[in-house]
Symmetry: C2
Subunit: 351 residues, 2 copies
Amino acid sequence: MALQQVDYTISGKTVSYYFDAGFAYLENIVSKEKTILVTDEHLYAAQASKFEGWRTIIIKAGEEYKQQAAVDDIIRQLIELEADRNTFIVGVGGGVVTDITGYTASVYMRGLKFGFVPTTVLAMVDAAIGGKNGVDVGVYKNLVGVIKQPSFLLFDYSLLQSLPQAQWINGFAEVIKHACIRDANLFALLEQHCLDDFQQDTALMAQLIEKNVHIKTSLVAADELEQNERRLLNFGHTLGHAIENIYQLPHGHAVSIGMMAACAFSEAITGFAAADTLRIEQLIEKYQLPTSIQFDRDKVWSLLKLDKKRMSSDMNFILLKSIGEGIVHKMPLTQLQHLITERVAATMAKA
Amino acid sequence: MALQQVDYTISGKTVSYYFDAGFAYLENIVSKEKTILVTDEHLYAAQASKFEGWRTIIIKAGEEYKQQAAVDDIIRQLIELEADRNTFIVGVGGGVVTDITGYTASVYMRGLKFGFVPTTVLAMVDAAIGGKNGVDVGVYKNLVGVIKQPSFLLFDYSLLQSLPQAQWINGFAEVIKHACIRDANLFALLEQHCLDDFQQDTALMAQLIEKNVHIKTSLVAADELEQNERRLLNFGHTLGHAIENIYQLPHGHAVSIGMMAACAFSEAITGFAAADTLRIEQLIEKYQLPTSIQFDRDKVWSLLKLDKKRMSSDMNFILLKSIGEGIVHKMPLTQLQHLITERVAATMAKA
C-alpha cells in the first residue's frame, strides 16, 4: 500500500481521493459506529470478509435495479438502523451502487455525508467521479438525481482482481475516451500496452487510474453544472446511448461504436485526419472493444431525436480536432441526420 | 393589484417575491409553453378558471399523500408531458403542494427551475419560504428532501378568500411564533387586532404577510443550513411535533401548545416574565388556538427522545428571553424530561 491522498476542490467543496489504499484504510476515514455501507449482493458475496464489523445495506446487482425502488429500500433500512444526521454513508461497488448510494445519501434527511469505494474500472475512472448521482426511471437513464460531490473516494486496486474480463474491457472504453478528448500522451501509453499489461502490472494500472481520475476531475471541477468543458466527456456517448438502449449493449461497447461515428463526423467537420481515425479504430480493437454494429438507422435516429429533445434544446456534439483535443460543436439536428446517413450508414448501418 | 417585487439573496441565489400580485401575473414571470403547474385536486376544483391554458399536474390533497408515491406520479406525468431541462415547474397550493413540487423539481433531470404560488396563510408566511422541500416516509415527517431555493414566490391574497376558517387559524400559529421569537411590534399589532380584522381588510393582511415573509426570509438567508439562527423557527415545534403525531392535531394547534410549554421552560431558565407568558397565552386564545392539551407524558416523552435522537445529537431547545427575542438553548435530555414533568405536567398533562 502506498497511500497518497489528493484533495480536489469542486464547487467550493473538498473531495479527498485516497489512491492505492487498502479497503481496511476506510476505518481511518470514517468511524465504524457512525457509518453505514451500501453494496450489492454480488460484491458482498465475493468480498464478505471486508464487510465484517461494518453495518451494511445490500442491494440487488445490475442496472435494471437502478430505480426508485432501490432508493426506497435503502431508506427503509436507514430508518431501521436509526441513521441520523451524523451518519456517514459509503457506497462500495460499481457505478450502479455509487449512483444509487450518492443519490439516497443526498436526500435522506436532506443530505448526509457520503463517500465511495469504486470497485470496477468504469467506476474508478468515471462513474464515481463528478457528483452526478441518481436513478433511472423505467427506460429513461439517470432521469432523476442530483449533482452533489462525495466527501471522499478510496481506490483499492486489489478489488479489481476479481473483476470479470468483460467489465475490464468495458471500463477501458472510458479510458480511451479520456485519451481522445484530452491527453495524447495517455493515448500513446495505451498504444504501447495492451489490456493484459494493465491486468498484470498493478503499478502500471495504478498510474493509469490516477491519470484518468485527474482528467475527469479537472473537467468536472472547471464546469460542475455541465455548461462548457464537462460536455467533452460525452464524446462517443450521443450515438452511443441510442445504440446502447436499442441493442442492449454493454456501455463500453456502445461508447466505442459512438466514438468511431464521432471520428467520422470529425473528419467531415473539423478536418480530423483519417489516419487518426484509423489509430483510434486500432486502439479500440486492441482493447477488445467493437468499432461498428449493424444498426437500424431509423430506430437510432428516432431515439436520438427524442433523447436530444428531452435532454437539451441545443444539439451539442463532441468532435475531435486531433487525438487529445476534443471540442464541443453545436450542430443542427438536420446536419446530424445527414452525417448519420452519409458517414455512419456507409460503414455500419448495413442492416 | 399593487405589485411589488422584492429580490432576496439566499446562498448566492436570487429569490424574487411578487407581493400582492394577481395569479394572472404568473404569465409575466414564466412562459406558458415552457411551464407546468402542480396543484391539488381541491384547489383545482375550486379555482379551475385560473388554470385555464396552463398544463397542470393534479395531485391528491392532504398531508397523508405527501409521500414518495406522489413524487413518482408527478415524474411519470412530467415524462408524458415531455418536460425537459428548460421546463419551469410551479407549485400552486398549500405547504404539502409546495413541498412535493419543490422536491420533485429539484431531482427531475437533476434539477429544473421552480417557483411557488402559496395559497394558504401557513404556506405564505412559512412553508413556501426557505427552500426546505421534501416528503414524509410513512410516519416520519420530511425525512427525505433537499434544501433548494425556488426562483420566485407569487403572493395572490385573493386566493385566501376561499380558505376554510380552520386553515386561517392554523396559519396564525406561525405568525404568532414569528412575533414571539423576533418582532415585538408584530406581537403588539396582533394584540391590537383579531383574526376577523385580517380577514376583512386585505391591505392589513398584505402588510402582515409581508412582515412575516421578511422575518422568515431573514432568518433563512442568514443560516440556510440551519446551524444557528434558523433554529429559532423551531420555537414551539419540538414538543409540538410530538403532540401533533400522537394526537393527530392540526399543525397550528400543536405549535401553539408547544409554544406555551416553551414559555414555561423559559420562565425557569431565562427568567422570562410570567406576565409575558400570560400575554402569549391570551394572544393564542384570541386567535382561537388551543393553549393546552391533556397528554400522556410517557408517550410524548418517548417520541420526543426518539425524534431528537434521530434528528440531531444536540438537544437545542428554543426559549424566549422576552417577547420578540428567541434564543437557542442547548439542553441535556434529562433537563428537558425534568421540565416536562415539573412545568408542563402540572398544567397540561392531567390525563
